[in-house]
Amino acid sequence: MKPVSIKKIGTITDGPLSPNEINDLVPLPPPYDRVEEQPGWKKLTKEQEESYACDLDGVTGLSLPKPKDAAEEKRVVEQFVSGLKKLLSSENNWTFLQPLTLTIDYCARCQTCSGACPVYESSGGNEIYRPTYRSEVFRRLVKKYTKTGGELFAKLRLEDIDLNWTTISRLYELSYRCTMCRRCAQACPMGLDNALVTHELRKLFSQELGWAPRELHEKGTVQQLAVGSSTGMKPAVVKENVSFLDEDMSEELGIKIETPWDVAGADVLLIHNAGEILAWPENPAAFAIILNAAGIKWTLSSEAPAYDGVNYGLFYDDFQLARIVTRHMEAAKRLGVKKVIMGECGHQHKAMMTIADRILTGDLNIPRESSITFLEDIVASGRLTLDPARNDFPVTLHDPCNIVRNLGIVEPQRRIIRKICPRFREMTPHGVDNYCCGGGSGMALMSQNNFKDWRVSVSGRKKFRQILDAFADCPGPEVKKYICAPCSNCKGCLLYTSDAADE
């Protein structure tokens, strides 16, 4: 790959700033080793190239329209600078100002983070995917536009970056080439967080310019706040769906399955990712069977949006995050439950368990627990009769970044699996050193233009390789294999990657 200087991000180039080349991608083992058989990514059409900003890497996941005239470009630049200033002020960024400032001030440029980044590595070392590339552009712009004498010093230090439409639109796309898995943050000897820079950039774009992927904003948080769920399920629909599943699964399994709704004073309010109900219905049914068998006094809520634990605000907008989590907790408060259990959704865990601690005050700060530790307690209590012989097939475990690396829930799920899966094998590496599914930070939902192709080939590549390696002793279809991935986002992403591999 060619080196790309930091300054070049603001320079109009002939074609994309740093295109991906299929021959540079990290090799995969057989039968996926032939480059010519790999899916690659669709070339953008002439129409897409003419309409959208797509001169970063030849991929566009955001369909950002090009500016109509110089006045619009000028307005965008002014808004960007205003947003930068807000990110660096305590009045406007009380959520993340301190870690952001540390990350800006203390980078030693050692590049340890680049070695930890699956996107950078899988791409074969595309310079612009280095965690430090994005951060260094951000750092220089912060210094130039928010510090006294910044513009002069930028010139003296030879660090000047032109802030124009090209810079800003490329940064926008670049903030969606990082899954915020935070492997880089874990590796940084200074404790800095380059994934936070990604997050803060996305936040600037959404909160200041009104730019966000429609899968996360219009179809995501806006729909969730309006209807109750990012899937579009209204309260009546979710109740009807779950009641259908109760009946259908009871018939199929010969066990009476009953899901309690809106039980005031229940010990536990379980909030699933609503995608589980639509796309992975065995999961909510399994929860119902287990919680009933263990004698838990639990309930689901049919109050919008407390039947959908997702909170895409975590990925791009603090305001949307706060609106959604507040309504989740208001519903829990009205029911008077003792505790909220978060379903199998990684970002729900992070949003509700940690970030929300700074938002929920007083009696809204209801105790929250991960379903993983909650299930482990049930399994460890001996209240369930388990039959590992039913799971006599190879099983591996995917560690969702938000649950494992970011929250430190590493062993509980393994203690469960060891009890029920005799042929469990770990991926390498795993636990807090795991690799992202490739679709973290909402990128599993994004599907515009050729973005999904990029995800399969680049951001999902490391995990795909890990899964192949974990089953290297039984690769063929004659052995049924199971990937346990306790997060809807990860499951969706892994399924799409494996479908692409089948093709």
Partner: protein, 105 residues
């Protein structure tokens, strides 16, 4: 916004070819989508699924769960893939003019 030409008329679609305006759907659109996937004539079973999907969507604003679709129409999943080559979501819903599912599905 990409567009697709079906029976001589232009329709806005998303990147996966789903109609953006479900109200513009008509039976000829379903036939044209089917032809694009190599199905030249829609049978009664096709229409049973397509009509079920449209009615459900009109009432509920989203597509039904696959389990519900198969149970209510009596079309089992294996047969569903014979009728609709890319399955209930990517073919049946598309031919019926429903938008692509949203959220973590």
């Amino acid at each position: 916004m990409p567009q697709i030409e079906l029976n001589g008329a232009m329709y806005d679609v998303d990147e996966d070819g789903f109609l953006q305006e479900p109200d513009k759907w008509n039976e000829a659109v379903a036939n044209a989508f089917a032809a694009l996937e190599g199905v030249s004539a829609l049978t009664d079973d096709h229409w049973k699924v397509i009509n079920y999907l449209r009615t459900y969507f009109k009432e509920n604003g989203i597509a039904p769960m696959v389990r519900k679709l198969t149970k209510d129409t009596g079309v089992q999943l294996k047969y569903m893939y014979e009728l609709f080559p890319q399955g209930p979501a990517n073919s049946a819903c598309k031919w019926a003019g429903l938008p692509k599912p949203t959220g973590c599905v």
